[in-house]
């Protein structure tokens, strides 16, 4: 089967949070008690037991009109995923069929390297289980021909799951329909994300939305440069030492044949 992506269209989203609940239900996640901070948004951010959530935002557009913007936040399932690159145990991996990013908790050692590396700041570490949690695009469902739970629950068609090409086409059409300030988000970053947005406003308007997400340069320096270079340097030293030994020779004490006698005669 082909590469698939999940498409979120905020112009169709009513922020009913059916997806948020379906996610909790399918993944067997509990909810914690939170405080009312004057917004419907709850919980305030992603948590180890909240893989996805709807953001609520009051926005005053340049004309002075107040708009209520919604946004579904979850793992973006990058094609070039920094978390998979840094994961030391292979717990984070690409789904071979759909190219989404899966997470095997049996392998996770809780090193938190993915938490720092993720350009979208998605993975959350649970101090109790000492493991990291994030959306895996309902891998148990999609590999069995079902839609992700959030898509299944969506009553308005704001969420879709389908072949990449089809979804890109749908996104482009929606963007055109929605007009000048509308945009698509995700297709241009990190090799293309497998969760992308159609936004009715410019992405810069949405709070908490990364402007220019990319694999951090520090990850490239670390994994692509220093990692192989470490072994090269050690190998070079070993080879150099060997050559030194056979070409220059070790530094031996000068032979002193009288040494024994002198000391014996003390």
């Amino acid at each position: 089967m082909a590469e698939k992506i999940k498409l979120y269209d905020d112009s169709k989203c009513t922020a009913c949070r059916g997806c948020q609940l379906a996610c909790k239900q399918w993944n067997g996640l509990k909810a914690g008690q939170t405080a009312n901070t004057g917004t419907y948004q709850n919980p305030p951010s992603l948590q180890p037991n909240t893989y996805m959530m709807i953001h609520y935002q009051d926005y005053v557009d340049p004309k002075g009109d107040v708009k209520w913007l919604f946004r579904k936040e979850a793992c973006m399932h990058c094609t070039n995923a920094a978390c998979v690159t840094v994961c030391p145990s292979g717990a984070l991996y690409y789904n071979k069929e759909f190219k989404t990013v899966g997470l095997n908790h049996d392998k996770c050692i809780g090193c938190k390297e993915c938490v720092a590396a993720c350009p979208f700041e998605v993975p959350r570490y649970d101090t109790k289980t000492e493991k990291v949690y994030k959306c895996d695009m309902c891998e148990s469902r999609i590999t069995n021909g079902l839609d992700p739970a959030c898509v299944k629950a969506c009553p308005t068609g704001a969420l879709k799951w389908g072949d990449k090409e089809t979804m890109l086409g749908t996104a482009a059409k929606r963007k055109e329909y929605l007009g000048a300030v509308a945009s698509t988000y995700g297709d241009k970053f990190v090799g293309g994300t497998h969760f992308m947005y159609v936004l009715k406003e410019n992405p810069a308007v949405y709070s908490g939305l990364m402007k220019d997400p990319k694999v951090p340069f520090s990850v490239t320096v670390w994994k692509n440069w220093l990692k192989p270079l470490s072994l090269l340097a050690a190998g070079g030293v070993l080879a150099g030492s060997f050559l030194h030994y056979v070409l220059h020779g070790p530094k031996r004490p000068d032979p002193e044949p009288t040494d024994e006698k002198t000391e014996g005669g003390k």
């Binding site: 840094v86 030391p88 145990s89 292979g90 392998k107 050692i109 809780g110 090193c111 938190k112 390297e113 938490v115 720092a116 590396a117 700041e121 570490y125 951090p216 520090s218 990850v219 320096v221 670390w222 220093l226 990692k227 270079l229 470490s230 072994l231 340097a233 050690a234 070079g236 030293v237 070993l238 030492s241 030194h244 030994y245 220059h248 070790p250 530094k251 031996r252 004490p253 000068d254 002193e256 040494d259 000391e263 014996g264 003390k266």
Partner: protein, 217 residues
């Protein structure tokens, strides 16, 4: 003990050296088991990768303590360059790279050893500090960008320390025959001392601090 052997290290010095060395090697082993996916099998003896991580973290604490003791112990002797003799030694590369008729005499530690000590001290501290923050990232107000750079810095420290380890291993054993005894029994031959640290030998003889075995034990 053969008669005429000279004592060059104290028991405390050897203890700190080996505490630092063993913790460092264990850190290299556990760290490499996590860094290189094809070395993940290193975890087998510690119950998996999670075991590597736990051992790595706590060994890091031992390493940090050993490093502080080593710095405190060796700083005065190996942390400060002396002019001009150290420069003269460096100009001849200690006679290690090309033929030198007479290698300039230096004190207890030659500039090569001093450079090694300073590198281990600097990069060891770097490893300790970056490693500590990597262990507890959530407890400090580090920006995401700062947190991200801890990892390549930690990898840079590994690159330097791992490469230097092999230099140290070679020069401490077959590259300088007789040297390894300084860190095993603590006793070396006068002949060795005359070749490797002539300046120091004279210093000790002059000050009367030379400890020579009388061959009784």
């Amino acid at each position: 003990m053969k008669k005429g052997m000279i004592k060059v290290t104290s028991g405390y010095e050897r203890f700190v050296h080996w505490m630092l060395a063993i913790s460092c090697l264990l850190l290299c082993y556990t760290g490499m088991g996590m860094m290189y996916d094809y070395l993940n099998f290193f975890g087998a003896v510690m119950g998996g990768l999670k075991g590597l991580k736990v051992v790595h973290n706590f060994t890091g604490v031992v390493f940090g303590v050993a490093l502080l003791l080593a710095i405190q112990m060796w700083w005065k002797e190996a942390g400060v360059f002396v002019f001009p003799e150290d420069i003269n030694w460096i100009m001849t590369a200690g006679g290690y790279l090309w033929h030198v008729d007479k290698v300039p005499e230096t004190g207890k530690y030659n500039p090569g050893q001093k450079m090694f000590f300073l590198t281990v001290a600097a990069f060891g501290l770097l490893m300790f500090v970056t490693g500590f923050f990597m262990w507890f990232p959530g407890y400090f107000p580090l920006s995401t960008e700062m947190l991200r750079w801890l990892y390549p810095l930690h990898a840079l420290g590994f690159l330097v320390i791992f490469a230097f380890f092999f230099v140290h291993l070679y020069l401490g054993t077959i590259g300088n025959p007789g040297t390894v005894q300084a860190m095993i029994s603590g006793w070396v031959t006068r002949n060795w001392l005359k070749k490797q640290h002539p300046g120091w030998l004279k210093e000790m003889e002059h000050e009367g601090t030379l400890i020579v075995s009388d061959g009784e034990k």
